[in-house]
Subunit: 339 residues, 2 copies
DNA sequence: CTGAAAGCGCTTACAG
DNA sequence: CTGAAAGCGCTTACAG
């Protein structure tokens, strides 16, 4: 109609003509999967570069039934924890020659709409970072045999491979750590919505271990994983009766809330940390190491987790029928100065 | 060969057969660009949903010569400034029905390799977030008439549309602001490598305006846009002779370095901010608002900039021949508590 | 090792 | 409004 100027695109037919070979041969040279005589390869490559030929990945995808596209679906990445994961994924996938079709989920665009798009683009696999996925979707994926890997979330579906920290164990470790250092009053700042399963696991581990140690009364305050909600949570805690004793410790289910909590305690209540109240976070984001915080936190072995996630993905793509299931990773407490 | 189980894919031919229409009609119904009798539409849609048909976007791309794919190339997104931009872009593009082919540049994978991939996937446009792009590449893009939009960077190429803050003007404003509040000794923390043009513009505006106001001696310390480098820079500054007078002010070319500088001054030198030394940052990232910092900074009108960037892109995609050039945006100083 | 040919799943003139 | 047919740019058996 109009603006169809990219008609000048050079195709394998053009290269073939110039190199005096068949189009199939050009294809063979570029796909690199067949044996072609060296002299022919040279002629083709010369012709190709003279013409500025670049194989059309779309056409290749259509015919080879493989797009080399991996859909990466992530929750809102303004949390540095997620952006560093995204970085890690991007690097690994790029190095493996895969392209990333990128989707961010948020409140407006649910995953279901996104999912339809993903399917239309015939991606080779789906890598989901900490976003909630319904069982219907994972079932649909297994029906069309689309490999799914979920990072930082556990999924019961048998066709999904999920990579997750052992949140319950980590939280138990935090309980031990805190109790061992003599704290007597405990609170947990978590969430109960989107990221709920993770937060719930951490809460469970924390309270259950504390109960075993004889501390049955653990406060729970609900936040939403932001700095602001951590501040609010701390206020709520400090304003409530019964949490004004000494030896108090607060465990937040991510660093952002932990830092918000610290700032509320310090700047709004004039409390000292860890003197008046201890704070422990989760994730070990870069900001927690900043001098103003020096947050003691739980560190997930992200690199190792990403390695496993990506290599599993690659195996699946190579047709190796690895099964679903969950891989849980052990975390460790990163001791800094807030407890 | 093996594992080719997705042969079960339902195509428009299957739908056509079941709906007793031609394949072309199915295509017309799904592309929504032709007038089809309502009764036919209904029959097709019924058949499609009974079969679980989903149009193949790859095949569509091949034939329509439009992939609906936008390549988004961003620098390392662990800096929250970039992740929020990425969020904004993702939302806008998704809402416009575009898919994102995502690339992260870093030191290992230069942009040139990435660029080849981008071209193979026949993306409709290229959106570059603050990454350095060579003139050869922009020229290649204009040759194949691939629209390019660059965010947060200025490019001289006439075929590229760039969106950028007016860094020089903003830095001049900071100079005025600081001088107006009585500061007498000034330093600038910038960089000279990758992001150099931006940092250089800010530096130029800052020093040139200060010179006009009678302050010819502005210290320069080089960082690399990280928190750590801000700390180092501040140490360097404080250890050097001549910057130990009162009324000192430091302008950092991003918030991360500003916060590092603050922490060094406060925690390592026992200085108070802004009492002993003022600090101003750039970007207005979320962390700067945290109670421990309350950083005075320069705020870029990101939302407006993203609106312009994306709507320009859409216009280009609709064939409207908008020209290249640079759109500069006015920033404003976000007064908080560090100056 | 190489060519001729069919086919991937769509879109889009061209005729009715 | 709809169908028959060509074609998008590749890959891949099938024969040499």
């Amino acid at each position: 109609m109009e603006a169809r100027k990219s008609e000048n695109a050079v195709t394998s037919v053009d290269v073939a003509r110039r190199a005096r070979v068949s189009q199939a041969t050009v294809s063979r040279v570029f796909s690199g999967k067949s044996v072609v005589r060296q002299g022919t390869v040279d002629r083709v490559m010369t012709a190709a570069s003279e013409l500025g030929y670049r194989p059309n990945a779309i056409a290749r995808s259509l015919t080879s039934r493989r797009t080399n596209l991996i859909a990466v679906v992530s929750v809102d990445s303004t949390h540095t924890f997620y952006s560093s994961i995204l970085n890690g994924i991007s690097g690994r996938l790029t190095r493996a020659g895969k392209q990333i079709l990128f989707f961010l989920t948020d409140f407006e665009a649910g995953f279901d709409d996104i999912f339809q798009q993903v399917l239309q683009y015939k991606v080779d696999a789906l890598l989901i970072v900490s976003a909630a996925v319904s069982v219907e979707i994972t079932e649909e994926c297994s029906r069309i045999s689309l490999p799914v890997v979920i990072f930082n979330r556990q999924i019961r579906s048998s066709h999904v491979f999920s990579i997750c920290s052992d949140n319950r164990a980590a939280a138990r470790d935090v309980a031990d750590y805190l109790a061992g250092r003599g704290y007597k009053a405990f609170a947990y700042i978590g969430s109960d919505r989107r990221l709920s399963d993770i937060s719930a696991d951490r809460r469970q581990g924390f309270t259950e271990r504390l109960a075993e140690l004889g501390f049955g009364d653990v406060r729970f305050v609900c936040g939403n994983y932001t700095y602001e909600s951590g501040r609010t949570a701390m206020r709520e805690l400090l304003d409530s009766a019964g949490f004004d004793a000494g030896s108090r410790a607060v465990f937040a289910s991510n660093d952002l809330m932990a830092m918000g909590a610290m700032d509320a305690a310090r700047h709004e209540y004039g409390l000292s940390i860890p003197g008046d109240i201890a704070v422990v976070g989760f994730d070990a984001i870069g900001e927690g190491a900043w001098k103003s915080y020096s947050l003691t936190t739980v560190e997930q072995p992200i690199d190792k987790m990403l390695d496993v996630a990506c290599s599993h993905l690659m195996k699946r793509l190579d047709g190796k029928e690895t099964d679903g299931g969950t891989r849980l990773f052990r975390c460790k407490i990163l001791e800094r100065a807030t407890a």
